[in-house]
Symmetry: C2
Subunit: 274 residues, 2 copies
């Protein structure tokens, strides 16, 4: 761990995952991970640029930022790269009208999108909205299309809430892929396009950036494939089984650059005081 000074050489920007790094979601909005409010404040006082790169797709950016601000975090909507707005851009560019299998909390992000006579499906972390009826409806829409197109907002396997591990959108995307014999287009981590858009918005090159997250695949391996450095915190969904799971399906074996215990643990040691 002593070599961190060298490992950080040339880093100008930090991309932060949100769930599992800043807070764990759950009943009543969830709870900050101990020390993370202070850690973010320390980062913002430093010379480093900071941006948030999340696969959160249950909430609009506005609701997410409002909730985080109430928990004490220094964050604004313009600092967040999230998959729902990125998806809307793609839908508009390609003239697509989605059937939305999404959580009501994120529906407002799609207010300007034409959803009549759908010619594609957008799946996000719908939570309890992943009923059999809703999944079957999305399946039927896809099966009726000549060229079925499915957008998946991230492909995370699960995330951690205060009450325990929760299925994320990824398993449900796999379900529709198998049912229809298709492959989804992922909008969100670990898609390289998504990381690149976050870097553009932060105005930092990949080799000057470090991604900090709790997901060995979506955050760490994805960022490394884009030429970034990456760090896995031991909070959120982090599990000591992560390395054991490495050779299994869906898990790339790329190791993290280094492991921290929490964002607070890392910033307290590694981020120079301003």
């Amino acid at each position: 761990m002593a070599a961190w000074g060298e490992r950080l050489a040339g880093v100008r920007g930090v991309l932060l995952d949100i769930s599992g790094v800043l807070y764990d979601g759950g009943e009543g909005g969830g709870a900050p991970i101990p020390g993370s409010v202070e850690a973010l404040a320390r980062l913002k006082r430093s010379q480093l640029k900071v941006r948030f790169c999340t696969n959160e797709s249950q909430k609009s950016r506005g609701d997410l930022v409002g909730m985080l601000r109430r928990l004490g975090f220094d964050i604004s909507e313009g600092e967040v790269t999230a998959p729902a707005p990125a998806t809307c851009l793609i839908l508009k560019e390609r003239g697509l009208r989605p059937h939305l299998l999404i959580h009501d909390g994120v529906r407002s992000e799609f207010d300007q999108i034409d959803t009549s006579n759908p010619n594609c499906v957008v799946i996000a972390d719908a939570g309890d909205g992943f009923s059999y009826q809703n999944m079957n409806k999305a399946f039927q829409v896809l099966m009726e299309l000549e060229n079925p197109v499915l957008f998946s907002l991230g492909k995370g396997r699960y995330y951690k809430e205060t009450s325990g591990l929760m299925l994320d959108v990824g398993p449900y995307t796999k379900a529709l892929e198998y049912a229809c014999g298709i492959e989804a287009e992922v909008v969100g981590k670990p898609s390289p396009e998504f990381f690149k858009s976050a870097l553009r918005e932060m105005r930092v090159e990949a080799h000057q950036a470090i991604m900090i997250g709790d997901d060995i695949v979506g955050d760490v391996s994805g960022a490394q494939r884009c030429g970034m450095r990456a760090l896995q915190v031991r909070t959120g969904k982090f599990s000591t089984r992560d390395p054991i799971l490495a050779p299994r399906p869906g898990i790339e074996p790329t190791p993290p650059a280094v492991e921290a215990q929490s964002l607070n643990h890392w910033t307290a040691r590694e981020v120079p005081p301003f």
Copy 2:
């Protein structure tokens, strides 16, 4: 089609799929496929042995047979090979206690199974029981096991009800496989063990048997891999897109031996009168 006499040479037994071949399920129990009641009667009057090989996992064998008899079919419980009883045998042999993600209609098949302190998960076609909460519970049970074991009763992608196509168990199995980084053990078609048990029960060798079904993967390709002949009816979930879908993920490209239009169409031409 004129060559069918040769193609049937040496056939002594017929394995019949049920859903999509005899009837389409749906509101009020579903409806027989036109002519199939008479076709089954014709088969039973012939010299051929007849057995039913189904992946039905929403209903107990007793309920399934009762429903089919009410629709007019000549069928008894002892003639049916189904995945729930086969799974119970495996659970007992291996001393496993399942968490059951199944439809209430099939629960009675597991009456004699110890489900306390589960050390595996059994997933079947739960229909509306595939709520987010139920899926998440099965996921959590698997994640807490040192060596997660998942049994899937078939792996069908979808089936046809009178109201349209419906997601089968396969997509939900894929979801849990991806979430947990594991591979399920399939009990049911196209598992070779399952076909072999049906052949044993019919007392016919694979090369003396023909499988008739509507699923190009579960029925046709699976039976052919066991050394049987196979025939795809153009009823149930059969789609003219089946051949187009062939190179896609999850679909083996094995062609059917020949295609019929319905069980009635086939028996009327090919099964000699008694």
